[in-house]
Symmetry: C2
């Protein structure tokens, strides 16, 4: 991320972009007013560029006749998304605004989970038969209702039972010898996905193969629709946002920050914060357990935050790296052993360096000899040794927790930085005072 | 993120996908061997689907003649990316592998920053003149060298000085009356970006307007190239990865986790970890400053991790939410006041709830009356009051730090969860002991 926006130009789009900027700060009445002030040519672009939450809100403020006009502007996949987030009681009312053909398409899409390929796909793809000539195919495409095709970038070759036989790009067809058969021009090896594949994997596949669209098929290989890359950009952004919010220790907001009300925001943050808080009771209990050692050598207490926070920081690094690598498909469950070995090496090295800095810090800091009772070196060794173990432990726990969560069927991103930090706080106390007991009994303790 | 990959089908791609899976674990020799084992038809797809780091590595293992073949397979924007990451001394060698036309294109692209629109764009767009008829334009497009067009999805209408006058989608042209002029069919209001616009904003614009490609112009409005949505998917994923890694307190890895060597991994993590560690010296100093209070009422010490970690967790939540909202373009610098008001409300509420839990916790926990000297209620009140202030303070600092960093020209994502936690540790100690001094002097203190 970098500094503000230079160089964006959208001539004539002034009113639309102004309205977009002001949007989060307007009440419903002002939104409807603003929308009505747009030039007619701009209204459509503006409406289609709103996210689905804003579309629902705006539609609710419009009279039924206008509502119908705008619902019918939506491509079927977007209409299905919109109906999916409507309150249950309004769904059939919104469905009835569509024309019959679109309604059937949307009902079919609603059968799929919102975050699977089937829930993302559009049924409006360009199709041809394998035994047409290139020339016939182009004329046939020209006859296919204009509004009913999402993209002519790829054309799908289907048999009479809708089985997907091949794919041909419009460019290939356009530049092919006119009398070649479609079956001679098409590719019969291509990437396709099943309707139940989750959207994160769909986006990995589209990114990996640099596709503009990917066909979606059912179990029998029958064509169901296409997922286009512009829908995937939104998916990738959404998924990353969810991961980031979870890593920060929040339930996914599912709406822009400024549009989340106070109570709803508290509701998203309080659960994890309370769980972590109660989790810290364990740290408190551990502290209570070592109260005797603390009373005898109060100087040990001074280093507690320094030491336990290093474990938390090391753990936060490891967990976010592994969570993201899993999200990008770079690391899979079976790679856990390789990751563990890597983190053992990295954790030990990082712990060694921090331990060395800690050692110097304790030796050089002006500490009264009353406090350390002339055992500065032993104290420094205790701090340094604890740091090595705690930083190593943080890295290992942080890296392995996402694997454990995924293995148990949870989202690995729930191994948030605060969660890992809390876990390593309690173990950090235990490690620190165990090392202290081992090294200092008979001197400071 | 969810469970493993069901339903992905890529018939015939078996060997390619096997090689892709094994790739991170192979040495250079094995990679070259594996690549040679691919069916000729698969080699090209495989090579083009590798990321730019893997492409450079593989090319280095091939003999010069093959290297030239593969370099020439790359579209100019990808060739420029590849040359950009090569060691300086090899760049001209790689450039010389290209044919003259491509070399000129690549040299022009190398002039732009890698992460600006100019560094992402392809110069291979479809172009027509405004005074052609639709029919002439289609025939002209057919004549344009096939290999030289990145997409025919959009066609750009240029005057003789290369000024961008309008855009027409291939579909509009294809379905238009054959004798209409291009200038009658084209849109003259459209979104375009300047070559120096950074890639994050380019991706926001493409996502917001659901574009398949966006034209890039210079200051005089002359057409420079196009950025296509498939390049943007990669950008969005990269940017999110960088943000996530920074939020976790790491320098961006810039390569897949499993491909980063031990020393390089330490190099990415040690700097922040050391800075945070040295930062914690402040907390240690604060602890030292309150050593007198600790000696008098050791029971206060037991609650230190509980209290300071709550501030860190609250801060981590706030900072990640604000960082992501900034990255998505939902929150801008001028929104700081609105965010501050929101976080004051949220922080106070969260602090209130945690304070209440803390109050009950201290009152109910079996604590020896020796430790609390019968002042349980005052102790509980101290813990609860501190929690309210510290959680509030964490939320405010966490939310404002990204604004401050962006204002100063730094990346707001550097306000990582560990950074905010460290900041709130030291203030947490000061708040806690200040509250304790105010409430407990004369009783426990």
């Amino acid at each position: 991320m970098t500094t503000p926006e230079p160089g964006l130009e959208s001539p004539g789009g002034l009113v639309g972009s102004e309205l977009r900027d002001a949007w989060p700060f307007l009440d419903l009445h002002e939104k409807v007013e603003g929308f009505r002030l747009l030039a007619p040519a701009e209204e459509e672009d503006f409406f289609l560029s709103l996210d689905v939450f804003a579309q629902v809100e705006l539609l609710a403020g419009l009279p039924p006749a206008e509502r119908q006009i705008w619902m019918r502007q939506l491509p079927p996949d977007d209409a299905a998304d919109l109906i999916q987030i409507c309150p249950e009681v309004q769904r059939s009312a919104y469905l009835s605004l569509l024309d019959e053909h679109a309604r059937k398409e949307v009902v079919a899409l609603l059968a799929y989970a919102e975050d699977a390929a089937g829930g993302l796909m559009s049924p409006r793809f360009a199709r041809v038969r394998p035994d047409m000539t290139a020339d016939e195919a182009i004329r046939y495409l020209r006859r296919q209702a204009r509004e009913r095709i999402e993209t002519i970038y790829y054309i799908y070759v289907l048999d009479s039972a809708q089985h997907l036989l091949g794919v041909v790009s419009f460019r290939e067809l356009f530049f092919a010898q006119p009398d070649l058969l479609v079956s001679e021009v098409m590719r019969s090896e291509f990437v396709k996905v099943r309707a139940d594949l989750d959207q994160e994997h769909v986006s990995q596949i589209i990114a990996e193969h640099d596709l503009a669209a990917v066909p979606v098929v059912d179990e029998q290989g029958r064509m169901q629709g296409i997922v286009t890359v512009d829908d995937i950009v939104d998916v990738v952004r959404e998924e990353a946002t969810e991961d980031i919010q979870k890593i920060g220790g929040t339930v996914a907001l599912d709406a822009p920050y400024l549009q989340v009300g106070l109570l709803s925001m508290v509701g998203k943050r309080l659960p994890w914060l309370s769980v972590l808080f109660v989790g810290q009771f364990l740290t408190t209990a551990a502290m209570g357990y070592f109260e005797g050692q603390m009373a005898r050598a109060l100087v040990l207490v001074v280093f507690i935050p320094l030491i336990i926070s290093s474990g938390g920081n090391s753990g936060a690094q490891a967990s976010t790296l592994v969570i993201r690598a899993m999200g990008m498909g770079e690391v899979r469950l079976r790679d856990w052993w390789q990751v563990l070995r890597r983190e053992l090496g990295v954790g030990l090295t990082l712990g060694g360096v921090l331990g060395a800095i800690g050692l110097v810090r304790v030796l050089l800091w002006p500490a009264s000899s009353v406090r350390t009772q002339h055992h500065e070196f032993l104290l420094a060794l205790t701090v340094a040794t604890s740091l090595v173990w705690i930083v190593l432990w943080g890295a290992v726990v942080g890296a392995m927790l996402p694997f454990l969560l995924r293995r148990l069927g949870f989202d690995p991103a729930s191994a948030s930085a605060p969660f890992v930090a809390t876990l390593s706080d309690v173990t950090g106390i235990v490690i620190y005072f165990s090392v202290a007991t081992a090294l200092l009994t008979g001197t400071l303790l």
